[in-house]
Symmetry: C2
Subunit: 348 residues, 2 copies
């Protein structure tokens, strides 16, 4: 089969690799229908995270089950399934507490499973799925072509935005500002609105992203950044700031902007993978600003969100503004790297 391999910074290719095999009774083999590129894939692509050897890549995919191990019970051959961006058993002490990303049998696509066997990346044709019963979520029936992008967002980007909102504690009628206009930030807007947030401010200075932010429910857009952006948010919210700020970038500047935008007693939900983030603890302490979030336990949220995707209440797949066949994976990365695409989908 063919799978995407990152050979070095900006050298990404679809290569021939060996077909995955069932290793364990709990495994499944899934033929990928669609996958996509994540903002976090750009860190190694750009060489900011070092690439020491060629590595499989991609952690968001949907597909059809081709084979299952002897003990697999929750999915069967032929099912259309959503794969969260980490695999997990859904039964351990941490999964039952909703922290599937800390699962004792869990791990990342493209690395190794709990027993040390290599695991395929998601940007390929076929993937061996460890602990398939816990990991995969089957749709009740075969979805239409139109639904596939929306279902694909359940692998990562939409529930990651949702995690920012849940971690901050967004409640009905509350005020929210979102830092970051990438696919996660835009998803966080949609998620906050789905949770009943009152006024939501998108912080973005790009016309196309502002447009999608508004489609996703943003009530106002603030184009300024940094201190000026935070001042504009505070101004809109009674001079005190937003109840909740969703930080969807992961830099020191974006976190600072988030903390300056939130009101005393408010919370920052953060899901942008942090790179050299420092917090001003005394300032947070004096204003009673909390932060919560982290790597999103997507699996915990899919059962709740899936019905709203299936019935069209939310259309999170609108974040995909570029769709190319898997063999054009390099273009998919390049477009996101150059910010000509918000998020790239790969069809197999």
């Amino acid at each position: 089969m063919r799978a995407t391999i990152l050979h070095a910074a900006r050298d990404i290719r679809l290569d021939d690799v060996s077909d995955p095999q069932l290793h364990d009774d709990g495994d499944a083999i899934v033929r990928v229908v669609a996958s996509c590129v994540c903002g976090s894939d750009l860190w190694p692509y750009r060489g900011i995270n070092e690439v020491n050897e060629p590595q499989r890549i991609g952690h968001e995919f949907v597909g059809i089950v081709e084979q299952v191990g002897a003990s697999v019970q929750t999915v069967k051959v032929g099912d259309f399934v959503i794969a969260p961006f980490m695999f997990s058993d859904n039964t351990c002490a941490l999964c039952v507490r909703g922290v599937h990303t800390s699962c004792v049998q869990g791990g990342f696509w493209g690395y190794a499973d709990h027993k040390g066997h290599p695991v395929d990346g998601g940007q390929g044709e076929v993937v061996r799925v460890p602990v398939a019963d816990g990991t995969l979520v089957a749709t009740p029936s075969q979805p239409s072509q139109e639904l596939i992008p929306h279902l694909l967002t359940l692998s990562d980007v939409f529930p990651t935005g949702h995690h920012a909102a849940v971690s901050a504690g967004v409640t009905a009628g509350s005020t929210v500002a979102v830092v970051g206009d990438g696919a996660v930030g835009l998803s966080a807007i949609l998620a906050a609105k789905r949770l009943g947030a009152g006024k939501v401010i998108a912080m973005s200075r790009h016309k196309d992203r502002q447009r999608l932010a508004t489609e996703f429910g943003a009530d106002e857009v603030v184009a300024e950044r940094g201190k000026e952006g935070a001042a504009a948010v505070r101004e809109i919210f009674d001079g005190i700031g937003a109840d909740y700020v969703l930080e969807c970038v992961g830099t020191s500047d974006s976190m600072k902007q988030a903390i300056q935008s939130v009101r005393p007693g408010g919370r920052v939900g953060y899901v942008g993978v942090p790179h050299d983030v420092q917090l001003n603890i005394p300032a947070m302490f004096s204003r009673n600003v909390g932060i919560a979030g982290g790597v999103a336990p997507v699996r915990a949220y899919i059962d709740d969100i899936l019905p709203d995707v299936l019935n069209g209440t939310v259309l999170p797949g609108k974040v995909f503004d570029l769709t190319v066949p898997l063999d054009q994976v390099a273009q998919a990365y390049q477009a996101m790297d150059e910010r000509t695409a918000i998020k790239s989908m790969l069809t197999v």
Copy 2:
């Protein structure tokens, strides 16, 4: 009247000062019945926070209303009142959101009010109280002598422990560990139990404090500190750690210990005034550990807690293990500095 003045590090005295006067229609004059020394008072006392000029000190007191300004409505002359450790109007946009410590008319005892007039410290005989309607809470009747220490804790230490528990999000049946065996940490144990926490671990290696921790409801005591202490907490809680950890010290070591003791997906509530605290954000992110807390909005909690104090459901005044007359204020500080007392009460 006489009031406590910190002249320099470890030079603290009861001096003659001018009697406070009403400055504003919203002021009240309160004759202090009892006050106390806070762990945070030890920072300037020890010279760790610089003392550049003689300063009034003390921010926890209860007393009897002697005079009220023309517009004061919620308290009257003769009322027994509790003064939270910051004054606040209880009506501004931040007070109504429960963040009285960020009140637009608020401030600290011993400094100045919103209009720039000096405000007395709490460790004195008489105090001018700004925005008295918002600040003071009167008891329904004159309390007995036995009740006074318990009521005095509502100024700061008990609701500060409560704030750690509320900020972390302690719920009925949850698992909790408390870092810090000072008066705030001990109060946090009592507060967590009052909120219905299941198993609560006190982290303490001092026999007298371990005993009070147990009286306040701690189910187990861990004497180890740092990494070893955190490992012991994780061991007790299914190998994964506590749902909630209450950080009641404020040093880099105590915060590290708190974060290492909490389970993935758990929360740290922190109320120890932070001194040079650095957070390991990537470790928090990967384990979905949030932190929340800050300077406790005590006023927001008094109405809820007061009935339980009046009817004896909780006895938070047990944190006072030394009571001296106000003119022995220096001994009260020395005992806490040398850790021969958990918390010192001053009677007038």
